[in-house]
C-alpha cells in the first residue's frame, strides 16, 4: 500500500541571467528560486492496484516517484510505502520495492546481465532456490535466454529494457515504481513489456505506479489514473470515468463508397478528420446507434470503428486549463 498525504517537495534552484557579467556576479552573489516540484499531493494506492501517474513534462511525476522510492526526502507531508517511511531506505523497505527508470540503467555496462542478477541476489539476500525460480520465470516471460550472457553494452535498447526489468524484479518486490519503462521502444516491445507488467501484477499481487508518455501503456495497464500538473493533483480516479466525464462523445470512423454533401455529414456529427473517402466524426454517445444505422443502411459505409476519444486529447485539454509556466523538474 502507498499513502501520500499533503506531500510537497521544493527545490532551491540557482538563477542567473545570461552573459559574462552575470556569470561573474554569481560568483559572489547568488539568487535562488524555490521551485515547487510537488505541491500538496495526497493519494492512497491499495495493494495490487495498477495506477497510471500522468502529467506534462516537469509536472512532478519523477520527483514523486523518487520520494516514494526513498531517493528524495520530502519537504513536508507524510509518505508511507508498504508500512515504511521511504527516505529511511531500510533494508526491509528496499527489499519490497523497485524503481525502473527508462532512462537510467542498473545493469553493469560491460558485463552480461547475468552478473548484475548475481550481484542483486547477493545484496538482496535472496535464497538460492527462490532466485532460481524467479530467474527462470522472468527468463521465460521476457524471453531473456539468449541475452543473459551478452555484455549489456551490446544489447539493443529493447533487449536492455527487458533485462533491466528482470534485474529490478529478481528480489520479487511487491511495489513497482515504473518511470517511462517503454521509452524509445518499438510498438511490439512496448506491448511485450505491458503484457509482462500486467502478468507480474497478477501473479504477485504487486502494486504498480506507472508514468509513461505513451498513452497506450496507460490505457492498457491502468484502470486508475492520477494526474498532476505543476506539482498539484488535478485528477485521481477511474480512467474510463475520466474519459466519459471530460469528453462523452465517441469517435466514429468509416469509409464511404461515394462523396457525401457537407450538410448531410453535419447531420451525422462533427467532422474531425478526412482522408480520401475515410472520415472520422465526433458523435454524442446517445446518438451513436442512430448514426451507425444510417451509415450502414442508407450510406453503405464500410470499415466502421467506434472509439473513445484519445486520452492524449483529454489530458492536453486538462493541462491546458492549468497551464502557466511549468516548473523545471530535476532530472
Amino acid at each position: 500500500m502507498i499513502r501520500a498525504a499533503n506531500l510537497t517537495k521544493h527545490f532551491k534552484v540557482h538563477k542567473r541571467p545570461p552573459g559574462l557579467a552575470a556569470a561573474l556576479r554569481s560568483l559572489v552573489h547568488r539568487t535562488y528560486d524555490v521551485v515547487k516540484a510537488v505541491d500538496g499531493v495526497s493519494f492512497t494506492i491499495a495493494r495490487g492496484e495498477r495506477v497510471g501517474f500522468l502529467g506534462p513534462n516537469g509536472a512532478g511525476k519523477t520527483t514523486t516517484l523518487k520520494v516514494l522510492s526513498g531517493l528524495l526526502h520530502p519537504t513536508s507531508g507524510e509518505v508511507a510505502v508498504e508500512g515504511h517511511v521511504p527516505y529511511r531506505r531500510q533494508a526491509g523497505f528496499l527489499g519490497k520495492i523497485t524503481l525502473v527508470m527508462g532512462q537510467k540503467s542498473q545493469l553493469i555496462w560491460d558485463l552480461p546481465p547475468a552478473e548484475t542478477y548475481a550481484m542483486n541476489r547477493a545484496v538482496f539476500d535472496v535464497p538460492r532456490a527462490q532466485w532460481n525460480q524467479t530467474l527462470a520465470e522472468l527468463t521465460e516471460l521476457l524471453e531473456l535466454g539468449p541475452l543473459l550472457d551478452k555484455p549489456t553494452r551490446q544489447l539493443s535498447l529493447g533487449e536492455r529494457m527487458k533485462c533491466e526489468l528482470a534485474a529490478a524484479l529478481l528480489h520479487r518486490p511487491t511495489t513497482l515504481f515504473l518511470d517511462e519503462p517503454t521509452i524509445g521502444l518499438d510498438v511490439a516491445m512496448q506491448a511485450a513489456i505491458r503484457d509482462f507488467v500486467r502478468s507480474y501484477n497478477q501473479r504477485h499481487e504487486a502494486t504498480v505506479l506507472l508514468t509513461s508518455h505513451y498513452m497506450d501503456d496507460v490505457v492498457a495497464l491502468c484502470p486508475r489514473i492520477i494526474v498532476i500538473d505543476q506539482g498539484k493533483l488535478i485528477h485521481d480516479g477511474d480512467l474510463r470515468q475520466l474519459v466519459k466525464t471530460k469528453d462523452p462523445d465517441k469517435r466514429v470512423s468509416f469509409t464511404l463508397p461515394k462523396a457525401i454533401a457537407p450538410d448531410e455529414l453535419g447531420k451525422l456529427g462533427t467532422l474531425l478528420a478526412r482522408e480520401g473517402q475515410r472520415l472520422t466524426l465526433r458523435v454524442p454517445e446517445r446518438e451513436v446507434p442512430a448514426v451507425i444505422g444510417r451509415l450502414l443502411g442508407e450510406l453503405k459505409a464500410t470499415d466502421l470503428a467506434i472509439e473513445d476519444p484519445p486520452l492524449e486529447d483529454i489530458l492536453r485539454e486538462m493541462f491546458g486549463k492549468h497551464k502557466t509556466d511549468p516548473p523545471p523538474e530535476p532530472s
Binding site: F11, K12, T63, K66, S69, G70, L71, L72, H73, Y87, R89, A91, G92, L94, G95, I97, T98, L99, M101, K104, S105, Q106, I108, D110, L111, E115, A118, M119, N120, R121, A122, V123, F124, D125, P151, P330, S331
Partner: protein, 269 residues
C-alpha cells in the same frame, strides 16, 4: 531479512567475484591505470642519475632503486580510482540505483576495487622479484618482524587510500567538479607520501608536515618497512600512525557520505 553486517558479509564473495569480472572486462582502462602508476620508474631513473657519482644525502644508487621499486609495488597494490567512479555515477544518475540496494555503497565499492588487487599483483610481483635480484639484501629490510608487519601495513595503506578517495568521491554530491579536488589531492599525495622522493629528502618544514599528514601512511609506511631498518619504537609509531589515520579517514569518508546523501535526498539526482 538478516542484519546489515551479516547480509554484507554474505554478499562479499559475490561482490568480489563481480569485481574480478569487471576488472577483466575493463582491460583497456585497467592497463592505462597500471601505466599511470608507473611514475616511480621515472623517478627511479631521475634519482639514480643524481646518485650515480656519490650517494645523495645517504641514498646510494641501489638504495634509490630499492626505494622506487618498493614504491611502485605499494602503489600498485593500494591505489584505486573510486573517486572518479563515484563522481561519474553522481553525474550520470547511476548513484540513485546504487542507493536502492540494501548494502552500504562503501562496501560495494570496496569489494569491487579490492577485487582488482590480485591482477595488479601480476605487475607487482615481477617487480618485487626484480627488486630482490637487483638490490639484493643490502637495500632491503631483512628483519622478520618488519616483514610480517608489512602485511597489515599494506592493508591499512589500502584502506586509508580507499577512504581518502571515497571521501573525495562523496564531494561529488556537493560539487559539480569534484575531480578538481581529486587532482589537488594527487598533487599533495605525490609530494607528502614519498611518491616523488623519499620523505628523508624533503626540506625541513615540508618533511615535518609529511610526518604528520595522512599521505605518508598511504604509501611511505609500507615502503619504509621494506627499505629501512626500524627499531621497535619507530615501528610502533609507524603502525600506530597508520591505524590512527586510517580510522580518521574512514570516519571522515563515512561522515561526508552521509552528508552527501542527505544533500542528494534534498536536491535530487
Amino acid at each position: 531479512m538478516r542484519s546489515a553486517p551479516s547480509r554484507t558479509l554474505r554478499a562479499l564473495p559475490t561482490l568480489l567475484q563481480i569485481g574480478v569480472a569487471e576488472t577483466v572486462a575493463y582491460r583497456a582502462e585497467f592497463l592505462v591505470w597500471i601505466l599511470t602508476t608507473t611514475q616511480p620508474l621515472i623517478m627511479l631513473g631521475l634519482w639514480t642519475s643524481v646518485a650515480r657519482e656519490a650517494p645523495f644525502r645517504g641514498y646510494s644508487s641501489p638504495r634509490f632503486v630499492a626505494y622506487f621499486l618498493a614504491t611502485l609495488i605499494v602503489r600498485q597494490l593500494t591505489g584505486n580510482w573510486v573517486a572518479w567512479q563515484m563522481s561519474e555515477e553522481v553525474r550520470s544518475g547511476a548513484m540513485a540505483m546504487r542507493l536502492l540496494r540494501p548494502i552500504h555503497p562503501f562496501f560495494a565499492y570496496a569489494a569491487s576495487h579490492a577485487a582488482a588487487i590480485p591482477f595488479r599483483s601480476l605487475i607487482a610481483l615481477p617487480v618485487a622479484f626484480v627488486l630482490l635480484a637487483s638490490s639484493g639484501q643490502s637495500a632491503l629490510s631483512t628483519d622478520p618482524v618488519q616483514l610480517v608487519l608489512l602485511v597489515p601495513s599494506l592493508a591499512l595503506a589500502w584502506l586509508a587510500t580507499f577512504a581518502m578517495l571515497f571521501a573525495i568521491g562523496a564531494l561529488a554530491f556537493f560539487l559539480t567538479q569534484a575531480m578538481a579536488i581529486a587532482n589537488l589531492y594527487f598533487g599533495l599525495f605525490s609530494l607528502f607520501s614519498g611518491y616523488l622522493m623519499p620523505l628523508d629528502l624533503l626540506p625541513g618544514p615540508i618533511a615535518v608536515a609529511a610526518h604528520w599528514l595522512p599521505f605518508r601512511f598511504m604509501l611511505s609506511a609500507p615502503v619504509e618497512l621494506l627499505t629501512k631498518s626500524l627499531d621497535h619504537e619507530r615501528l610502533a609509531r609507524l603502525l600506530g600512525g597508520q591505524l590512527a589515520w586510517t580510522a580518521t579517514l574512514l570516519a571522515i569518508a563515512l561522515a561526508l557520505w552521509r552528508a552527501g546523501v542527505r544533500r542528494f535526498e534534498s536536491v535530487g539526482g
